[in-house]
Symmetry: C2
Subunit: 245 residues, 2 copies
């Protein structure tokens, strides 16, 4: 079964959390918007699905995943759906809800990271909300990163099955997403995250272990992994980073 | 089995989406923070759980639900977990992921509604970000409410099983949450939502049908239903509403 992943071409964005799970599992998937229009793929195919007037249960926004007839939307929901099929969810049923709760908390932080550069409106240019962005980014760096990361570090420490994973005793999609979250924050806020390794040692070690996994390493080195850029949720605008001291 | 719901006392907030499902199902639940400290309840009991240094998988924030030993956090996750147990989820497995995708889209809109009054930082007072709030609220009213609501109206129209529900052919927790979202928007932005019924007739009819359900009607008339207020995600600040014309 070939999965079809629909997401904006040209950026990591929220689609990247899904890609990492598909890549780690060696799953067969098609990146629809990067495909050939002649084969019914490309951005037009995604827009047609989003705007369809007769599709049952159309998605609100990318990313969404097609598995046969079923369309699953929302990043955390896609991962909740895929996790067991890819061998990247906890075996225990209760722990699957724990994993989903953690994934949704990661999603909340991703939204907040996005809003550092667009606090007033997604419809306005960054340049037209730069002053507000500076206030929001400063609060994000001083209060929100520590609050979220102290929490996730504590979750690893208190995981009764293993201190090497966020949930349970084996790698799950939540660990892959945590790598991506940390990676994005380090790209966007290099000065603010300079001491990440000493402040959050378990999370930093998890980040490094994920990078070293053979399939993830191969993916990150491939041209399927797009570089970070300023069209993404994680944007490096030096004026929003912590002031150099 | 008595469920324990943990949420801030004194406001509807995100906890209300869970309460509506529990109430519609006539489920046995305890509202922990409204309980007696002598019985091990109260806000202190919630804070102890949030701050615990040895709890396996502590939640990041309220609301969270305790079912026996299991703690489930994040509103949409709690509803995904409870839905089948309460008879408020689609029977079809695939449609459960459709329901969860819709619920997460509702959650995204709730976050955006919150950010209309706190666009710069949750840590700052509203009074200290009022100008930014006016810009964000204006964008929310002009662009985001129409974008989300046109989408949800379309989902109802294109639901192949019934035009009376968002997903499938019977009431689900997503319909209850949609009532709460609309109710909150009408409270916060009475002028901007004045024509809601003509603009989004299917959603407005769903809202009215939910209110008329006997258990929901009884709940809304009880003192368990707290009034809307300005500690909640939906706040009525007249200066953020659409200008009167």
């Amino acid at each position: 079964m070939t999965y079809r992943l629909y997401y904006w071409d040209g950026l990591q964005g929220r689609g990247e959390f899904v890609r990492l799970a598909l890549e780690e599992a060696g799953a067969d998937y098609v990146e629809v918007t990067r495909g050939d229009e002649a084969a019914g793929l490309g951005t037009g195919a995604m827009m047609a699905r989003l705007g369809s007037k007769d599709e049952a249960y159309p998605p609100f926004a990318p990313p969404f995943l097609q598995d046969g007839e079923l369309i699953v939307s929302q990043t955390a929901n896609i991962l909740f759906y895929l996790g067991p099929k890819l061998g990247l969810a906890p075996r225990d049923e209760g722990l699957r809800y724990v994993a989903n709760g953690l994934q949704l908390t990661i999603a909340d932080m991703v939204t907040e990271a996005h809003d550092t550069h667009h606090p007033l409106a997604g419809n306005l240019y960054y340049e037209d909300q730069k002053d507000a962005a500076k206030v929001r980014a400063s609060d994000f760096i001083d209060h929100r990163i520590p609050k979220f990361m102290r929490y996730f570090e504590r979750v690893m420490k208190q995981n009764p099955a293993s201190e090497d994973f966020l949930v349970g005793d084996a790698l799950t999609y939540v660990d892959l997403s945590m790598f991506q979250l940390i990676d994005g924050l380090m790209y966007a806020f290099p000065r603010a995250t300079k001491r990440f390794g000493t402040q959050y040692p378990k999370l930093a070690a998890l980040h490094d272990r994920v990078i070293a996994r053979p399939r993830i390493a191969a993916y990150l080195a491939s041209d399927r992994r797009l570089p970070h850029n300023e069209a993404c949720v994680f944007r490096h605008y030096p004026e929003l980073d912590k002031t150099a001291r």
